[in-house]
Amino acid sequence: MEKSVVFNSKLLPYLLLIPQLIITFVFFYWPASQAVWQSFLREDAFGLTSEFVGLENYTTLLAQPEYYAAMMVTVVFSSLVAALSLSIALLFATQADKNLKAAGAYKTLMIWPYAVAPAVAGVLWIFMFHPSLGTLARPLRFMNFDWNPLLNGNHAMALVVMAAVWKQISYNFLFFLAGLQSIPKSVLEAGAIDGAGPLRRFWTITFPLLSPTTFFLLVVNVVYVFFDTFGIIDAVTGGGPAGATTTLVYKVFADGRLGGDLGGSAAQSVILMIIVIALTAIQFKYIERKVQY
């Protein structure tokens, strides 16, 4: 919808737009296009000269087993985090949606981890599960379980997944609760009159009606795992051991900084950009149809 009454000023609107446009060009378009351009260049070891190498950075990248390993890590990591944090949050949200007296207090107590920085969340979890001093590592050792996230790749993955899920439950909880509260009670009453018990009502009425929220959250969670978990991974494992928790985003960071391979890092950035644009496109397409049940 457009406004039909507007101001007729020739210069003013441009002046109003200038601050945002300048910042957007300097810190967004310029670096993004640099990333694309750099992905076709190869720099010498000292970064003094660079030559145009076409798609060489991409072919080198796609021939690297480590790149596919990072891709697998990303897929495993995102599916685990999304599946766990969505189902746990849904469980809590359905309980909080029952007309409990203390529902408001529980809501406050559930949502605050949203405000904890991912890196801080990572530090909290490595402290709990640190092989030598972690409070929760002690019972694991006691059961003769050789727990060591600093050396064992699967343990490291389990730890970053737990930290990432812990932080994301609050967000999913909030949106699920809002989704549940917008489902008309009359539909559920009709189901009850027809003799459906609580579980049956949940799976045949509530869950399908909640599917737009669930789908929206799925996309948001995948984007979250891609980008916001960087702090968790860097604080807990640093991408290790032996790349077991190196996601695609972490690899862009590690290759560019530690390896100094800027062309390869830029090529990874470009591939990531394409993935994010695809994800965002899916999200927007869905939002268009959001109200259709």
């Binding site: 406004k3 601050p19 945002q20 957007t24 810190f27 904890v116 920085a117 801080v120 402290f127 604080a235």
Partner: protein, 282 residues
């Protein structure tokens, strides 16, 4: 609810209490660790009740800094975090409110183009263009400055979209009435639009403050001096000396201090927080 069974309520309370316990336990442990001395924390047998070193640990963390790492005291990091979080929140509100005003209340050539130029930034978070952005900031001599910490992170469309959406819901009669009263674009913005937008501004502020406070990768890259560190990256640097020597009790005290401001914002401004979260995601 349709039927009300007491047993059902008991199960719900049990599950929710378990949830709250899971959510709170890691923070509780950190709080406990921040009240013991170093030896107790690293022994692997830390008790689950508070110790007596709380004042000592927090005092050392805030004003002196770690003994082994010779890092900055946390007080400076807190100041840095506050400045950059405030700068990011206020900066975003400022530029996006102006541009949304231009896009909604004016007609001019390239209006749609300008909107799309801004809109595209939604798609690419700073993480995917991290090194080129670093290079731009380095070329502009903004490494280790507050401008470098703030400006690249406000280049995003969330605020613009939010204000645009809100301005669209404001009845046109208001603008007509203002114009009949002889108000120009400045008067209308200042006397009518700004007062109406207070809640939207506050909601956006809450979300952006948390976003800015919790930044990690960007400050990690562009701060080289310890005096410019934010608290979130400060904690990690405390831990990664050599693992055994890390002063966990100070790191945990710092973690608690790092959590406090954003968590307080969520708890005490819950209504604004929820509103901001829901509206920026649309």
């Amino acid at each position: 609810m349709v039927e009300h069974r007491p047993l059902n309520d008991i199960i719900a309370y049990a599950i929710l209490t378990l949830g709250v316990f899971i959510v709170a336990f890691p923070v509780y442990l950190a709080l406990i660790a921040s009240t013991h001395d170093a030896a107790t924390v690293v022994s692997g047998n830390m008790p689950l009740s508070p110790g007596d070193q709380m004042l000592e640990n927090y005092y050392r963390a805030v004003f002196i800094g770690g003994a082994r790492t010779s890092r900055e005291p946390v007080a400076q990091m807190l100041i840095n975090s506050f400045i950059s979080a405030l700068g990011i929140a206020l900066g975003k509100i400022f530029i996006s409110m102006l541009s949304a005003y231009a896009v909604v209340y004016f007609r001019f050539p390239f209006r749609k183009t300008a909107f799309w130029i801004i809109f595209v930034t939604l798609m690419l978070p700073v993480e995917v263009r991290i090194y080129p952005t670093y290079k731009v900031v380095a070329d502009l001599k903004m490494l280790d400055t507050y401008a470098g910490l703030i400006l690249p992170l406000i280049a995003s469309a969330t605020g613009t979209l939010l204000f645009r959406q809100f301005f669209m819901t404001i009845p046109e009669e208001l603008l007509e009435a203002s114009r009949i009263d002889g108000a120009g674009p400045f008067r209308f913005f200042w006397d009518t639009l700004l007062p109406l937008s207070v809640t939207t501004i506050a909601a956006l502020f809450v979300i952006q403050f948390i976003y800015g406070w919790n930044q990690y990768l960007w400050p990690l890259l562009i701060t080289t001096q310890d005096s410019m560190q934010t608290i979130v990256i400060g904690i990690k640097k405390m831990l990664y000396t050599t693992d055994e020597l890390a002063e966990w009790q100070l790191a945990m005290a710092t973690a608690i201090l790092a959590m406090l401001p954003p968590v307080a914002v969520v708890v005490f401004m819950q209504r604004l927080f929820v509103r901001g979260l829901v509206e920026t995601e649309k």
